[in-house]
């Protein structure tokens, strides 16, 4: 297990290095840079002043020099200065991470809490009216874009309650914040829950047809024991995999959800930074997301061992 962990760690470092090069190069391949955008807000471009700002920001340096400076900064814990706000990038990024993290965790919790039990029920009650209703719900979850669902929720709240569940200021306690974030989390988690539900259902159906399930029933085990202790535990492995993948994809869903519900998180901030070609923000944020994705995948791999003791990474 120890050798496996070291191997995985080295692979993670290699992946992150590849990501850093990719992010750095791709950002600079996109037409226009921060100076064009700074001037855009002033309604004109002055080539001489533009060159001066490029010099100030170090954009006139060769790309390799810029890359080395960034990585050296990262190693020292210095993320550089945001081009637009002219503040240390860390000050811009850090306060936004907890907001998005809470939203993402809530969305994942929502997708698991709804997706897994409803998937099990749908499988156990296969071809009943309840199964059909749940399948329609899961299909609609897959086909409704989360921004559209978010807008529908907002419109319904304004129309019926004269209230809008958007993030106006940081709530004064943790639970109020969770309550406020639960609505957007539901909007973004609905799609994931639909996916989890469908996968749980198909996986459960496959497992329920296995011999050992029939044996368990023959031995007189209750329905609940068969469904949840024997079947679900064996059916859940692919579901865990998909939850891991969804966690990575969640950031895409969060961009629109944070925009619609006006949540000051990193996902929306990242898009804004890309629009402004604010390289220090984009580079560091994308690297942060890459680290999260790599770590989540690592955790998923480790979860397999817990869920299925037959899996041994040493062998």
């Amino acid at each position: 297990m120890g050798a496996y962990l070291i191997r995985r760690f080295l692979l993670m470092l290699l992946t992150l290095f590849g990501m850093s090069v990719l992010i750095f190069v791709m950002l600079r391949l996109v037409p226009g840079n921060i100076t064009d955008i700074i001037f855009d807000s002033a309604g004109f471009v002055n080539p001489a002043q533009k060159a001066k700002i490029e010099r100030q920001l170090g954009l006139d340096q060769p790309i390799v020099t810029q890359y080395v400076a960034w990585i050296a900064g990262l190693a020292r814990g210095d993320l550089g200065y945001a081009f637009v706000s002219e503040k240390p990038a860390i000050e811009e990024i850090l306060p936004r991470i907890p907001v998005t993290a809470k939203l993402a965790v809530l969305a994942l919790v929502f997708s698991v809490l709804f997706g897994v039990p409803l998937g099990v029920i749908s499988a156990v009650r296969q071809n009943t009216a309840l199964d059909y209703v749940l399948r329609v719900v899961s299909l609609s979850g897959l086909s409704l874009p989360s921004f559209w669902l978010g807008l529908l929720i907002l419109m319904a709240c304004v129309q019926w309650f004269g209230w809008i569940p958007i993030y106006r200021s940081t709530p004064d306690n943790f639970w109020r914040e969770i309550a406020l974030l639960s609505i957007p989390a539901a909007a973004v988690g609905f799609r994931s829950s639909a996916l989890v539900m469908r996968l749980t259902r198909s996986s459960m159906l496959e497992v329920l047809r296995q011999d050992y399930i029939r044996t368990a029933r023959a031995k007189g085990a209750s329905d609940a024991s068969v469904n949840y202790e024997h079947a679900l535990r064996n059916a859940v492995l692919p579901v865990v995999t998909i939850i891991g993948i969804e966690a990575a994809f969640l950031i895409g869903g969060l961009i629109v959800t944070e925009t619609v519900f006006n949540i000051p998180g990193v996902a929306r901030f990242l898009v804004e930074a890309i629009r402004w070609r604010d390289y220090p923000i984009v580079q560091n944020l994308v690297m942060f997301i890459a680290v999260v994705v790599v770590v989540v995948n690592f955790i998923v791999d480790m979860t397999y061992v817990v869920l299925d003791p037959r899996i041994k990474y040493e062998e």
Binding site: P31, G32, D36, I37, I38, F39, D40, S41, A42, G43, F44, V45, N46, P47, Q49, I53, A82, V84, S85, E86, K87, E92, P95, L151, L154, M155, C157, V158, G162, W163, I164, I166, R168, S169, T259, V260, F261, N262, P264, R268, F269, E272, R275, W276, R277
Partner: protein
């Protein structure tokens, strides 16, 4: 007789009571909550050319003079004192002296003096190169300011190269705050210091901008509000719904388009909504150095095919204004009367006749149904740019021009136009003050950086200088209209329309007057209060 006197006195007393009534009703306190439509670039008004910065940050500053915040139309007659208590021109009308208010302090406690006025214009005119602005979009406004001389701490004199009566109008704009000498331009972008009614508190990018009441404001009893909070909400549906739900006291300036207005007024019937001209024009830009548009005949045909009215009808349900270069009446003071406008090339009401003429020109150049001219119509990737561009493409077909929409990422639009990497484009231009000096110098003078198409006609430049010096309004108007005619003939950035849109606020917001001929000059908020 006594009875008459008593009646007259009673009437006077009643009138005085009525006049004093509203003042008694004004309430102190509360936070004004306004939504902001986008992520504002910085807090430095002098470095930006966008309402996104002016609207929130104008309340931090004072000007020397300003447009009366309580009057709907900005003009020379509505200019009132601000940091300057009085002003006077000398006999040659080339020296404008301001007597400055005493006892005014910057938000950091340092005293405001005439030196600060001098410093501000040293940066604007490029004399201070040690700590200059990153960009200076309105440098052209002050090209005639040769010096700002100070006499003690409380007198500043603007020395001009020639008479320019409009200088006062430019000084009254929301774009012309006084900056402190002792604060760097970098700090002014991120943590601005002013003398205004509200102090800057924080600017969380993409989230919120906060201002708090300045307790040491020189205007006693003002401002009424304790704080102003600008919440950035980029999604239009969300912010409009939030306003309807009562989360905000006011919308962003001109954020409610004509088609949206019906929704807002039906769902928030108590909201006060005013449709006003924004001072923003939709205009056609043509690159005269890109063949075949280097041929004046092709440009002429292009002008003849424009059906402005149909674009206005489709885009704004007929609410935008048909216009020349200057904002048209009734809001605009300098725009041509409609009967005169109709005589300009491309403005004829008989579109069929104009287009027949345009087709004839194009046929003479070898184009026809079998051989169309293929062009890219470039525009910014924003709906208000794209929509008229699509309609233009349809109209170009009538003169054998086959247009293709070239949507340019908004971040590189100006860079692309400056490099002249376009043939035909659709553009939007905002004008800070309804004054010919502002509009004509900024957008049509040979040496202006914001003259995007780099149109240059020395005769037009001479006319612009002539109108700028003219003190008689009627004579000046005639010169301005002559310039309009020349610009229309040269197809120099032909104006399609001037935009109109609504700003809405809740009925408990009092003391706010929306300006109807500019969106840039009425955001001081010192007279605004909340009746809650």
């Amino acid at each position: 007789m006594r009875a008459k006197i008593a009646t007259a006195m009673a009437l006077c007393l009643w009138a005085v009571t009525l006049a004093g009534g509203p003042a008694l009703a004004e309430k102190q306190g509360g936070t004004l909550r306004v939504y902001h439509r986008d992520n504002l670039p910085s807090g430095s008004i002098h470095e930006e050319a966008t309402i996104s910065t002016v609207q929130p940050f104008m309340a931090v500053f004072n000007n020397l003079v300003m447009f009366d915040q309580g009057k709907k139309l900005n003009s020379a007659e509505t200019i009132v004192p601000d940091l300057a208590e009085s002003w006077a021109w000398d006999a040659t009308r080339t020296r404008l002296t301001f007597k400055l208010r005493q006892g005014v302090k910057w938000h950091d406690g340092k005293p405001f003096t005439a030196k600060d006025v001098q410093c501000t214009w040293a940066k604007l005119t490029g004399k201070d190169t040690a700590d200059d602005f990153r960009r200076n979009p309105r440098a052209i406004w002050y090209q005639n300011v040769k010096d700002v001389a100070v006499n003690g701490d409380h007198e500043a004199t603007f020395v001009l190269g020639r008479p320019q009566p409009s200088l006062l109008n430019m000084l009254a704009s929301g774009y012309t705050p006084i900056y402190p000498c002792h604060v760097s331009t970098q700090a002014m972008r991120t943590n601005p210091i002013g003398t205004g009614p509200f102090r800057f508190v924080e600017f969380k990018r993409g989230d919120v901008v906060r201002f708090a009441r300045n307790p040491d404001y020189w205007k006693k009893g003002r401002p009424y509000l304790d704080a102003i909070e600008w919440k950035v909400i980029e999604n239009r549906s969300t912010r409009i719904l939030a306003f309807i739900a009562g989360e905000f006291d006011m919308t962003f300036s001109a954020d409610v388009t004509v088609p949206l207005l019906k929704d807002v007024t039906s769902q928030a019937p108590r909201a006060v909504c005013e449709v006003a001209s924004t001072g923003v024009s939709t205009n056609l830009i043509v690159n005269p150095s890109a063949p075949p548009f280097n041929d004046a005949k092709v440009r002429q045909a292009l002008a003849l095919t424009l059906d402005r009215k149909s674009i206005i009808d489709i885009v704004s349900q007929g609410k935008h204004s048909l216009a020349g270069v200057m904002l048209p009446p009734p809001e605009g003071s300098w725009g041509m009367p409609p009967e005169m406008l109709e005589k300009l090339p491309g403005y004829s009401a008989d579109i069929d006749k104009s287009r027949a003429e345009g087709r004839k020109i194009m046929a003479g150049l070898g184009y026809g149904p079998g051989k169309t001219l293929k062009v890219k119509v470039s525009t910014r990737n924003i709906a208000i740019y794209r929509d008229p561009a699509v309609l233009l493409i349809d109209q170009l077909k009538s003169i054998y021009i086959d247009g293709e929409l070239d949507v340019v990422d908004t971040s590189i639009w100006h860079a692309k136009v400056t490099r002249k990497e376009f043939s035909v484009g659709m553009n939007l231009t905002g004008v800070g003050v309804d004054d010919p000096d502002v509009n004509l110098y900024e957008n049509y003078a040979c040496n202006s950086e914001r003259n995007l198409t780099q149109y240059c006609n020395k005769e037009v430049d001479a006319l612009i200088d002539r109108q700028s010096q003219e003190t008689d309004v009627a004579t000046r108007k005639q010169i301005v209209w002559e310039i309009e005619r020349r610009l229309a003939e040269d197809l120099a950035r032909p104006i399609i329309s001037y935009e109109r849109a609504a700003t809405c606020w809740q009925p408990h917001l009092k003391g706010f007057v929306l300006h109807h001929n500019s969106i840039y000059n009425n955001w001081r908020f010192e007279d605004v209060w909340l009746d809650k």
